[in-house]
Amino acid sequence: MTSTLEAAPAPVDRPAERPAAGRRHPPRVLQVLAAAVAVVLLLPLAFLVVEAVQDGWSTLSPILFRQLTATLLWNTVSLTVVVTTLCAVIGTLAAWCVERTDVPGRRIWAVLVVVPVGIPDFAVAFGWKSVFPSVGGFGGAVLVMTVAVYPLVFLPVAASLRGADPGQEDVARSLGVGRFRTFWRVTVGQARLAILGGSVLVALVVLAEYGAFEILGFRTFTTEIFSEYLTAFNTPAGCALSLVLVLLSVGILLGEGALRGRGRATRIGPMAARVARRHRLGRARVPVLGAFVLLVALALGVPLGAIGYWLFQSASSTLPSASLGSAAWHTAVYGGSAALVATVAALPVALLSVRWPGRSTMAIERSTYLVLAMPGLVIALALTYFSNNLANGFLYQSPYLLIGAYAIMFFPLALVAVRSSVARAPVSYEEIGRSLGRGRLQVLWSVTLPLIAPGLAAAFSLVFLEAVTELTATLVLIPTNAQTLATQFWIFQNNLAYHQAAPYAALMILVAAVPSVVLGRWFDRMPGARVPA
């Protein structure tokens, strides 16, 4: 039980109006690093423009302005809106229940609700389709995508609630504000950046999803891009349609920028303010518990059930056998390296955009999100193009380029996680460090990094989870003869050898579950995290 001495509301810091360590201009190194990251992340966009303009406007305009484009635009936009809204609600409520209430078994739920993000979307879609063959169309796409990607909201919101100052809720309550309004104005307000960030990720991921919709027979912009590239061999048309997708994502980002506002919620530090007292659910326990069971059953039960069914159904196959161990090893190495690279790269961008918000720094930060709306195949082809045409094939189909591709594709996930924790870390601590004569790097190492460690860990695990399940870019860029769990699963599943595919899917989920479990335990052991229920 923690003392109530620190129950007073923490002073609210305003880093936007008080630049770090009295500097009005960001350090040059930080600017250069962040700009370099942004340039690398814009490479795929450059490829799209180069390819699309090749054919000229007269060939592209009939493709862009046909009836089909309008249909697909409607499909894509309506699906994105519905899935994002559902994910924002489910992710936020689940995070609040796990972090702020006495729901029974909350540590187990904290892990179970994250694991679905480690199941490849195409496997989720396949699980549903094989159990309920009639699942499909708009409803099917909403269902499958929602249960597959809501953890992208849950993770940042949970991290944010964990770090937020509960004193503010108490103040609101003591001022006579009702429970519901306190939740809406204070709790949701504190987590607003995280909710917005997570929702943007969901929206962009839905825009770029391909495999699941192909299986479900639902047609979006991305499925059309694939059919232009793949079936029609029409690269310029595929690139032009991808640019439309990029424009859609610019719209989403502008919308989020407008909603983000200027308000900021910091607390004095993870150790100083007292920790949250959990809300007693009382009679609401049973329905809340029921909701968790339902969520996990839908998100985990169906795909796991399908995998289990295949696993224990013996069937012969005409396919050559493969090595599970080597695929698992490659998956872990590629995914882990990519997660590390993306997390490290996100740091300068996050620091710059939070500590020195301005037109140019925001432009750098926002531009890095565009990559999320580009299908993996497009990014892989872009890197293929640059590596072979500008660098003589340097690093092509080597582990380094594949790791780089993952880091590029999932950079925005790392950025959201790092950014929201940097936003909550008070600048004053860094100022104290600086005033004690410590160098900038020393302060970064001994003050800032420990403060934002939860965000870094969340960033690492998010990128890792996504990289583990990546398929389309992996098939293009992986070293010849190497397989990841996802590519080997694909080979088997593509040839309907479900029995052989099942262990790969199962292991993929296990590999993805590891960071979720580790994260959950790590947070529980943090000082002040043990909270009386």
Partner: protein, 341 residues
Amino acid sequence: MESRRLAGVVAAVVVAGGLLAACGAGTEAGSITLYNGQHPQTTQALVTAFEQKTGISVAVRNDDEDVFANQLVAEGSHSPADVIYTENSPALEFLQAKSLLAKLAPTTLAQVPARFSSSDGRWVGVSARVSVMVFNTDLVRRDQLPTSVLGLANPKWRGKLALAPSETDFQPIVTSVIRTYGVAAARRWLLALKANAASHTYPDNETLVTAVNNGQAALGVINQYYWYREQVDVGPAGMHSSLAYFKPGDPGYVLDVSGAAVLMSSAHKADAQRFVAFLVSPQGQAIIAHSDSFEYPIAKGSDATPVGEIPLSGLQPNSITVAELGDGSAALALLQKVQLL
């Protein structure tokens, strides 16, 4: 000061990484890289036999042939690929038009009847399949089936027809219908198929065969070998479906050719040519006939027929040629127009 040190460390890591990659990337003599769009079953047996025979090792990449086609264009003259092997001819025709394929040895081309290979001599036909109907024997009687692919447009198949419109095996049938009846009629036909299939559209023929076999749908059009593979996978007891051929010369009765080519950019052209020559050699063709691929070998003199199938010489497909199938762009434009793609 600190930042300079950090920059130094970063530079060192990058350089070390680059060196490591450069060492790993070098391919020793006597090895080729194969971009395999063919089913791994077929390729694995062929590669193993080739390696034993020649000592040349073959590194195999698996992906969809359509992805490979785009990838090879992006790779351009630096492509690490030496050979591409596909299930269907359109991807090869596309690469040929992009000037990415090398001329094949005349002796290789001479192994196969000219109608199965590129007219420009840049890819060779290796094996063939034929499009047929698959039907669920519990749901449909054989005598109820249409004799032409046009008959599948009949409203009586509403809710019963299975369709895999994005499957590369489906395009040639569309091309063939366009060739026989013209674009307008082909469009009406496709719209009717789309209405009949409704929610029974599948991403590929493997899924389609399984759906028909399980009774989710009553009938569909596939290439014959998917059904034979399904039989191996689920065993004879699990089969609730059968195959039916269209009437001789029907536009739906199309022979699809799987082929291979050597890349213009290949740094190991001699070894690559040997591999392609092996595919159409008597040994390679025998492997295709007796493996689990269930495709027809097509080289001259290889009259082996996969177990249980009608011999190639007994088939009476439509007269459409690989050149007429082309890169399939007319079929695709139509499929897109009716929103099946």
